[in-house]
Symmetry: C3
């Protein structure tokens, strides 16, 4: 697979033409170059730790995870790292990799502010414990990666949270978002209000992470968790609403195969297919 081939075959209309001419060595070399972008040039302690008992998995991680997937066009390294730290934060069960990829996010150019905002965003999809633990991990990593930018921002909280949230909800999700809120009137109107006030009024309107990247993180988290199919559909639609592309959706779901498993990626694609079919 050359990158040109790869670009072609990520076109959601292309037919797959498996190109097996590429050697393992070429895939591994490309993967190693990608991994070095994430590690900032060092080798990966996590991979070194297993190379003695499972050298082939270490090889697969480089050749497949970084050579085949991470190196693909369609998402920038920054987008891939935001999607990855969001997914690992939401899963909450892979602390070493979360720290590794927070450092990786910094190494490919994400700001500390963007990482912090991603984890504040995590509170919506995986709860506050997941967000708090991810931020504790970020704190450790930031301490070891001195930087000039200040991740600490206190945003203004004045104004009408509900109205601000409703405007954001309309901008992001369109009529469907308002429908979700209205659908709670009969059973949990206050949760509908919290969706508007907290999720959209407090979180989505924050600066520091642009809307398409927020939705990219939402897609990554809902896909990795595998328990939020209705929300995944909502956020794939929202991502496209705010300027995301179908290729970016497919690339994000494909990347999740490496961090949450192929079933998570395949089930995410089932949701994507439904949404893509809405507007041929």
């Amino acid at each position: 697979m050359t990158h040109a081939d790869s670009t072609a075959s990520t076109d959601s209309t292309a037919n797959p033409v498996p190109t097996t001419s590429e050697t393992e060595e070429a895939r591994y070399a490309r993967g190693l170059a990608a991994l070095r972008q994430v590690t900032g040039g060092e080798s990966s302690a996590i991979l070194d730790a297993i190379s003695d008992i499972a050298p082939d998995l270490a090889r697969f991680t480089v050749a497949f995870g970084y050579g085949d997937i991470w190196s693909r066009p369609g998402l920038t390294p920054r987008q891939r790292q935001i999607a990855t730290v969001a997914a690992l934060a939401a899963l909450g069960n892979a602390a070493p990799q979360l720290r590794f990829h927070i450092a990786g996010a910094l190494n490919v150019g994400c700001t500390r502010r963007e990482i912090v905002e991603t984890f504040i965003h995590t509170s919506v999809y995986a709860g506050f414990p997941a967000a708090l633990n991810a931020l504790a991990a970020a704190r450790e990593v930031f301490a070891a990666h001195p930087a000039d930018d200040d991740p600490v921002v206190k945003e203004a909280v004045d104004g009408d949270r509900y109205q601000r949230g409703l405007d954001a909800l309309r901008a992001v999700d369109g009529p469907e978002g308002v429908h979700v809120v209205a659908s709670l009137d009969d059973i949990a109107p206050d949760l509908g209000r919290y969706l508007v006030e907290y999720v959209f009024g407090d979180v989505y309107t924050r600066t520091g992470l642009d809307l398409p990247t927020r939705e990219l993180a939402s897609i990554a988290m809902c896909t990795a968790l595998g328990t939020a199919a209705p929300q995944l559909r909502v956020h794939i639609r929202a991502f496209l609403n705010v300027g995301g592309t179908r290729t970016e959706v497919v690339e994000t779901l494909t990347q999740m195969a490496g961090y949450a498993g192929f079933p998570a990626a395949l089930n995410g694609l089932t949701a994507a297919r439904e949404i893509f079919a809405e507007t041929p």
Copy 2:
């Protein structure tokens, strides 16, 4: 939002009247008072740890998590803490918060026995590893919170486990519970027998945690896991069977938005809506 408004709007028939008159300061002050009930007066080390890099999330945790949600009427502080430790035990991926909320459960008046029983109950919904790890956490917390009550109880094990379980199953789930067991005859009759003998004969018949609180914990766990939709419906129905109210169901699901994320809460409400619709 005043508490009066909140009471009104948790009525599942009420229309949401977003009241945005309340200031951030008022929400934060109410949240801080609630948080102090949970911490027993101290500040939260977990929040302090992130206030340097994500002060806004610390603020959201207090104003939204404790001010908007935890302070709501409809569930007692003891019910909220049992639901929370059950959910965190089932998720098994937020150890610091589990320890924090076990201490919080003690601080709001839960007995050590109730906490231990909640985690024995966890073995049914999330497996023995989750239960054993939660009890290890409880052991740590209990050591730091000397109390008079003895959590250690060895219950009698004589008698007919199957008959005792069948009686409990009928009392809790009604005919539907018996149907679930019968439905296994064709494929895994012994698992049906274990449901009766272990889940109902051994666990549900234990003293130390009343039936409505057991079902409240079941609802919290099935909602947080997000992988047990059929069982969530069964236990919402069972909770209502044993005296729980619809408001308590809605409050428990709403609380899960904070500990497992909004998708978990929203999907739980979809299940609740189905059950509530059965008996208008």
Copy 3:
């Protein structure tokens, strides 16, 4: 329940005849004998740690977990331990139990190679972080359990990965597997290619773990995760394709009740019932 009874009642056509004649003491004694096979004769530190605050759960773990479930015929101890370490690796949230059961797998005769292969297999179903963390745990356990066999194998990587994978896919999943890949042509053809090249070309064709055991592990992981229902159906069918029996499927799902909770086991049985119904 005597083992004879148990054998009878694991026949998926048998009607459950609850035999409650057996005493708690007999179940506990059988469980203790089973547990000693897993621990290699020692007592379980994990159980000892909780016996002071939850002696009844320690008792349930022995009498129910090991006496009722683990001691059942239908799966060999080696199969049970492979299913268990696969499930705990995929869940990624019970590190002490994962280490305990890796040692248990060695104690009942699994080779270090089989355990390593199981965790390489885990990368497919739960992602690389889960696989890497499980291998780090295996590394710790192996260091404390010197053995002669060498888990380290570097398999040849020459040849056509796509063709090799396609052959394996056909052998394992039959036409349905090819259909899953083809179904991705319209949206993510490259993920379809990775399924063939990585999952089947790189992983499934590896030696060191026979195909039925690989599918047993796939079933255990998809059941424990609870987020992969379509894939669980695929792999139950595949397990039967490569020589697995319905009784082994039911036993594996039943064992998951102990490690991931009864809802996971019950939902897995719903999938199994669908597959079993295809070929009466």
